[in-house]
């Protein structure tokens, strides 16, 4: 639900009154996503089977497909960074989908959640680059021609700083927009108006999670491959 529309009553508001913690709603919905994922993880770990069925099959399809995609794009080194990428994708996906449940809000509809994730992506790919190349990582920032290096250093700095910002704003704008549209359509035509939008938004939310994942992958690829 979108904030600003005269305090919509979501589950987190009720929970917050009960607990008296005074935390913003997106924190509760992030915890909910974490609980869902941890539960899935523990259930699956307990009964892994050689012939997967049900939940294990679903997770194997998604994770296996993503791993192939990453290895295809980055190369064998991609397997090292894949856990981070996949965790990002599934976490964002679950948080996005929670927004579709009536009375719930997507945690990614708040700019703080996205900023936190985008900054961890920024720190992580730079850490990977420095770990692999050492001091030579600076060559990634200098461009191919040596006498243009000072200019390229500034340009690359701007470009790299723009990455977390664009990650944050893209995810925030899309998910928040979808939440607002859902609320507005619910006001206009309850239930009947929102139902068709659900199909569109399931698509939209999956694509947004995938874009975040794919951009993280491209940045990691940039810091792992040799400077041109």
């Amino acid at each position: 639900m979108a904030a600003g529309l005269a305090h919509p009553l979501t589950y987190s508001v009720i929970l917050d009154q009960q607990l008296g913690l005074h935390l913003p709603p997106h924190v509760y919905y992030m915890w909910l996503a974490m609980i869902i994922l941890f539960t899935c993880g523990f259930i699956l770990r307990g009964r892994l089977q050689l012939v997967p069925g049900g939940l294990q099959n679903l997770f194997e399809t998604v994770i296996g497909g993503l791993e192939d995609f990453v290895v295809l794009n980055i190369g064998e080194e991609g397997r090292k960074v894949f856990p981070f990428l996949c965790a990002m994708f599934i976490f964002i996906l679950v948080m996005n989908y929670i927004g579709l449940i009536p009375g719930c809000d997507a945690a990614t509809a708040n700019v703080n959640t996205n900023a936190a994730m985008a900054i961890s992506v920024f720190v992580y790919y730079n850490y990977i680059g420095i770990k692999k190349w050492g001091f030579g990582y600076i060559k990634h920032f200098m461009g191919p021609v040596i006498f243009l290096a000072p200019l390229m250093l500034i340009l690359e700095t701007v470009s790299h700083l723009a990455r977390p910002l664009s990650l944050t704003l893209r995810l925030f704008g899309n998910i928040r927009g979808e939440e607002i549209v859902l609320v507005l359509l619910f006001i206009l035509a309850p239930v009947l108006g929102t139902l068709p939008m659900y199909f569109l938004f399931i698509l939209g939310k999956t694509i947004q999670a995938f874009i975040f994942f794919m951009l993280t992958m491209i940045y990691l690829k940039g810091s792992l491959e040799h400077a041109h």
Partner: protein
């Protein structure tokens, strides 16, 4: 399913992802340049100059990023259209790989 075809993220989703990133880069790089110039001005006390210089650098960066992204997409499309029809026959019938779009 739409999202995963034969255990892989579907082509439509990858294409959608690539296209959706381009516009944002242009805007955000400009704003980062603007912000860097503004705070450098406050720090160094050179009122309008750093702002102007870094705004220009930001705009240049934005366009360069978009250009690089477009080149990357082009390369991907080339590989894709060369892939299924084989390396030898890309001259005569390079089209089939991209027909679906």
């Amino acid at each position: 399913m739409f999202f995963f075809k034969r255990d892989k993220p579907s082509e439509a989703m990858v294409l959608f992802g690539n296209v959706a990133t381009i516009g944002m880069q242009l805007v955000v790089a400009t704003f980062i340049g603007l912000a860097m110039g503004y705070y450098l001005d406050e720090w160094l006390g050179t009122k309008p100059w750093m702002l102007i210089i870094f705004l220009l650098l930001g705009i240049i960066t934005g366009f360069r990023d978009v250009y690089r992204e477009a080149m990357r997409l082009q390369r991907g499309a080339d590989e894709q259209s060369a892939g299924p029809s084989g390396p030898g026959s890309d001259g005569a019938k390079g089209g089939p790989g991209r027909q679906g779009k």
